[in-house]
């Protein structure tokens, strides 16, 4: 006979779980008791449950495996919510385990009771409240299957204390049957044929790589296909790295903060092939003005995304790795020479030129990183201007090496996501690009990095403000600033020291090369603060209601 908690751990081991990010409490005592005995699963104690969810997400994104996190009932569970929503928006596979008050007390407003399945309904792919311990093996197996297959996403398993604590015979579950859940993976042959025809006929074709290319592991297939056709490729923020950022066919990120040549290519193309993306408003700008002269092909594993936000001429449902192979086999090489001539005439970034700013600007730092970063670098970012500059300017060379909260735009994501990525990829240099605002939301997880001996590199781009919101106030509030300037910030240098990190600071332009290099090469945890101008805004920018071609640049 085993405890429900022991059965849970056995099932997790069976799913190949190696790491769990978690935080204990009364409702998960039995689960922790069982977990410490596991020889296969390492538990990483976080500093805040939101960190646990983000860490599982960073782990999942860097490794391609399902990330697992664990928290107690009530506040433990609600602290996970932002992390779950962040993962849901970006289609990241997570299995989230929460403790719950005993079954007999569910519904009585018991101490630390919260209806977490109810709360997470809109932000999970699926969720379970386990009412009978005998169902644990099936539920765990289903949860992992649902989280990782089709369009990935988070799944919550809420386990009442009496379920963890009950004694029963373990019966393995080796087969699941979900009649309502059968993702289509093979592309429809007729549709494939039509897409091939369009690609061959187009004069100004453009491919757009979304996060789906990365989650399908189809980066190489995409690059190969683009090379056969000599087609330019733009990426969403989630799709950065699907094709190497320094590849001659890569035009960079499109969108309301996209780079100019990507946005102009979208606006001029006659065929837009969308791969694994969902046409978020930050990608399209005004949808009525999106790719106005183009036929749109949308290839995605999730049929519900097709036609949701923009009109689609040819829908194609399937797994991108399979579909791109199906397509590549039928294509013959092309030049698209006239199209490339036109693209060459587009300005590369638009507003990239900083002029002679006496203060340091973020693009200068991004340039230094491009020059000095080792090949095995993994970037994570927080949210704000620094994130956009990172997405526009960093050369992201491989899939799963640009980890950022795209859909939800969650400040406080960068540091925990980096913890997760570093746990998944111990030999890699993991660099967090954060702002002075975001840093203070994610900072507690430096404690986790310290405890786990993770050599994260944390770059704080300190503009003493919530720069992105300030930028919005410049454009939408007539430059009247409200609540965007930190009158006092803690001394990041001492905070870094407190976490046992190497603490570096750049205040003058001359120091950039040397200090960035020292920072990136430091073998342990390191924090580099760069004092950057507070006046700069990030461009190009597409204002509300405008199309991508109507982006504005620096004055």
């Amino acid at each position: 006979m085993l405890l429900g908690a022991e059965i849970l751990v056995k099932c997790l081991e069976k799913e190949g779980v190696e790491v769990i990010f978690g935080y204990p409490g009364g409702a998960v005592l039995e689960i922790y008791d069982a977990l410490v005995k596991s020889e296969c699963i390492k538990h990483i104690l976080v500093r805040h449950e939101q960190g646990a969810a983000h860490e599982a997400s960073g782990y999942a994104r860097a490794s391609g495996k399902v990330g697992v996190c664990l928290a107690t009932s009530g506040p433990g569970a609600t602290n996970l919510v932002t992390g779950i929503a962040t993962a849901y928006m970006d289609s990241i596979p997570l299995v989230v385990i929460t403790g719950q008050v005993p079954t007999s007390m569910v519904g009585t407003d018991a101490f630390q009771e919260v209806d977490i399945t109810g709360i997470t309904d809109p932000i999970t792919k699926y969720n379970y409240l386990v009412k009978d311990p005998r169902q644990l093996p099936r539920i765990v197996k289903e949860a992992f299957h649902i989280a990782r297959s089709g369009r990935p996403g988070p799944v919550v398993i809420d386990i009442p204390r009496d379920v963890s604590a009950s004694l029963l015979e373990y019966e393995a579950c080796d087969h699941i049957e979900l009649r309502g859940y059968k993702p289509n993976v093979n592309g429809h042959a007729g549709q494939i044929k039509q897409v091939v025809q369009l690609l061959m006929d187009a004069k100004r074709p453009l491919i757009c790589a979304g996060g789906g290319v990365i989650s399908a592991g189809a980066g190489q297939e995409l690059t190969k296909l683009a090379e056969i056709l000599n087609v330019p490729v733009v990426s969403t923020m989630m799709g950065l790295g699907a094709i190497p950022g320094d590849h001659p066919l890569a035009l960079g990120m499109l969108g309301t903060y996209g780079v100019a040549r990507a946005n102009l290519a979208v606006s001029r193309c006659d065929l837009f092939v969308a791969l694994g993306m969902r046409f978020d408003d930050r990608v399209t700008g005004n949808t009525a003005k999106f790719a106005p002269g183009a036929k749109i092909v949308h290839i995605d594993i999730d049929p519900a995304e097709i036609g949701k936000n923009v009109r689609v001429d040819i829908p194609l449902v399937g797994d991108l790795k399979i579909v791109l192979n199906q397509l590549a086999g039928r294509l013959v090489s092309k030049e698209n020479a006239v199209w490339w001539e036109e693209i060459a005439s587009f300005p590369p970034i638009f507003g990239e030129d900083q002029g002679e700013n006496p203060e340091i600007t973020v693009p200068e730092i991004m340039k230094a990183i491009n020059e000095l970063a080792p090949d095995n670098i993994i970037f994570t970012t927080d949210v704000g201007q620094h994130q956009i500059w990172a997405a526009q300017l960093l050369k992201v060379k491989k899939p799963r090496t640009f980890i950022s909260s795209g859909g939800l735009g969650t400040m406080g994501y960068g540091i925990p996501a980096a913890v997760g990525a570093q746990v998944a990829c111990p030999g890699h240099t993991v660099l967090v690009i954060t702002g002075d605002g975001s840093f203070q939301m994610g900072m507690p997880e430096l404690g986790t990095a310290l405890e786990q001996d993770l050599p994260l590199k944390v770059l704080i781009l300190n503009n003493q403000s919530l720069g992105m919101v300030k930028q919005l106030q410049d454009h939408y509030c007539g430059g009247r600033y409200a609540a965007v300037h930190f009158k006092k910030n803690p001394d990041f240098h001492y905070l870094a020291k407190a976490y046992g990190a190497l603490a570096l600071k750049i205040t003058r332009r001359e120091e950039i090369g040397e200090k960035v290099s020292e920072f990136l090469r430091h073998p342990g945890l390191a924090v580099l603060e760069v004092i950057v101008t507070a006046k700069d805004n990030v461009y190009p920018m597409v204002l509300a209601g405008c199309g991508l071609a109507e982006m504005i640049g620096r004055e």
Binding site: D121, K125, D302, A304
Partner: protein, 159 residues
């Protein structure tokens, strides 16, 4: 336009709230929703009446299909169907008008299921049109209480 969707779902607790939540969240208009067990005890059938243009209805079906617990979604709007709603109606019925009410009940082939001293409860089934007609005919007598289900529908057998 109004669409009728027949949605087969797993017969679990929680499914209905997921489906209803989906509609609220995405701003779809449900006119009526009826749920009940089917010939297979593990499956429930939800009959939904939704208002929306083709694009909205396509999204509704796709979002429903995406739910793990949803087994099948059928848009039966343009099928030949039998449709029924159930109506219970308490109408004021003092002796002088009782006879007249009973005649109406006869004409519409509904039933009187409770007789009180000053009121009657009438049960009726039928499609939307018939239910509306009954309500309208009984209105002048004074409707004291009215309850009705949404619509259930079934596609007719092949002729």
């Amino acid at each position: 336009m109004r669409h009728t969707l027949a949605v087969l779902v797993e017969n679990h607790p929680g499914v209905l709230s997921r489906v209803a939540g989906l509609f609220a969240r995405r701003g779809y208009n449900i006119e009526s929703l009826v749920v009940g067990e089917t010939e297979d005890k593990t499956v429930s059938r939800i009959t939904l009446v939704v208002e929306g243009d083709e694009k909205v209805i396509e999204q509704v079906s796709k979002q429903l299909n995406k739910q793990v617990d949803v087994i099948k979604v059928n848009d039966i709007t343009n099928e030949e169907t039998v449709e029924r709603q159930l109506l219970l109606l308490k109408v004021a019925a003092d002796p002088p008008v009782r006879q007249e009410i009973m005649q109406i009940v006869e004409i519409f082939r509904c039933r009187i299921v409770d007789i009180g001293r000053r009121s009657l409860i009438i049960e009726a089934t039928g499609d939307e049109e018939k239910i509306q007609a009954i309500i309208k005919s009984l209105q002048p007598f004074g409707i004291q209480e009215l309850v009705r289900t949404g619509k259930v529908a079934m596609v007719r057998g092949q002729k």
